[in-house]
């Protein structure tokens, strides 16, 4: 990631966009996002609420610019996201995309640019710039084309440790940022299949992941010894009653003990020694 060469252009862009956010037209745009008022009283309340949100959004935007100026990209991202959440202005969303790019998160940057172009009317210059960035980001996104995934009900696919939807289309295509990744497919009673590799900008890698079924040998668990009771004459009933009471107690004890014991971890092949 060439952050240094990116910095001056980004800052110039940010400076332009903060100006855009400050102009009355931007505020009007923010207000468009609120629900249309139904009465005069609602107009006052709605406007005041929208203005308060916009003011807070503008403050977040200013904090984002300051963070970007100090190359604190994670902080900048958080503030620009907050600004967009509050003010809904395209300039904030644009800066979310450029900050994601600075962080090397090209998949997310691409998706934000797509959203910007889809959801907001932009002036010609900004539209052209957003399209140019979208092309750049799309070209940097790498892809994993995953084949061999079996149609198992409890199949789990994890990309860099995070659960990923397996979908139904095969091969499954996953968009990923360039860099090192680990992909793991697992299912109960199967050995998990794992791929690890480094992807360059725009690279596409074919990965075959097939969790293999397991044959497990576990000795049969030992049975609990049987209990016996005996008695004679009148004591028979007393003995039976005592055995029942003691048996119930022992049963409760065993039940509680069984309940308190650890089980094998879910999703793994259970083996008893």
């Amino acid at each position: 990631m060439n952050r240094l060469s990116f910095l001056p252009r980004t800052l110039a862009r940010l400076a332009l966009l903060v100006a855009a956010l400050a102009v009355p037209g931007a505020l009007a745009h923010a207000q468009e996002a609120t629900a249309p008022p139904a009465s005069g009283a609602a107009i006052d309340v709605g406007t005041a609420s929208a203005e308060a949100r916009f003011a807070e959004g503008r403050a977040a935007y200013a904090r984002g610019l300051a963070a970007a100026d100090e190359v604190r990209w994670s902080d900048a991202l958080r503030e620009f996201e907050r600004a967009y959440e509050l003010a809904r202005v395209p300039s904030a969303l644009f800066n979310v995309a450029t900050t994601l790019r600075a962080l090397g998160r090209h998949v997310a940057s691409r998706d934000v640019l797509l959203r910007l172009l889809r959801d907001h009317p932009l002036d010609d210059d900004t539209h052209a710039e957003a399209e140019r960035l979208l092309r750049e980001e799309s070209n940097r996104v790498a892809r994993l084309r995953v084949s061999g995934l079996p149609p198992l009900e409890r199949l789990e696919l994890r990309l860099d440790g995070r659960l990923t939807p397996t979908g139904t289309e095969r091969p499954l295509v996953l968009s990923v940022d360039p860099g090192t990744h680990v992909l793991e497919a697992s299912a109960p009673a199967h050995a998990s299949a794992r791929w690890e590799g480094v992807l360059a900008d725009g690279a596409t890698e074919d990965v075959a992941l097939s969790p293999s079924p397991l044959a497990v040998t576990t000795p049969a668990p030992a049975r609990a010894p049987a209990r016996a009771s005996s008695g004679s004459s009148a004591w028979i009933w007393i003995s039976i009653a005592a055995v029942v009471v003691v048996g119930a107690g022992v049963g409760v004890g065993f039940w509680m003990q069984d309940d308190a014991q650890l089980d094998a971890t879910a999703g793994r092949v259970a083996v008893s020694l």
Binding site: A191, R194, L209, T217, F254, M256, Q261, A264, V269
Partner: protein, 195 residues
Amino acid sequence: MTAQRRRPAAPVDGRPRHAALRVAALAALALLCAACTENAVFDLDVELPAAGTLVGGTAIGAVTVQLESDTTDFESDWAADVPSATVTLGATPQTLRLSVLAQPAQLTRPLAVRVLYCETLAACEGTPADPRTELQFVLPRVFYEGVVTRYRLDATTPPATTPVTPAEIDRCDIAGCREGEMATWCTDGVHLCEL
């Protein structure tokens, strides 16, 4: 006039009045003890190679992982019914994710692990197995009462020849009793699960 205090009446037969309560308390204590967790779980990830890895010119196609807590003797084959898992290797490296349950009598015993590399699944499942080579590990202490511990065993590289002595895994490398990743799971030589 002085105030008089009543003393509680002494039991008629001289025995403490709450003997029955004491018995009930002992019974309850016994039940509570019965409810204590006594077993232990060890989650073992065994990282395996991709199919086709060569050992002495033979492509490896399957692996059996055997577990034994009764012996650490690797001189001879273990019984066919020792706990084990057999897997066919895939096109990419795989991880065999085991969850090993131990009962109270087994907690302090070392765990011996044998990774057998075979040409085919049938060879691994044969009695005795027909491995081309194997890796051997001894884990001196992995189980702690009522605790789930974990370890990732690297078995991605089959040895050209079976080693003479098994590799010993330091008990301080066995994760457990704290979240996250740590360089060691001991403090002052004591495992965190023993504190």
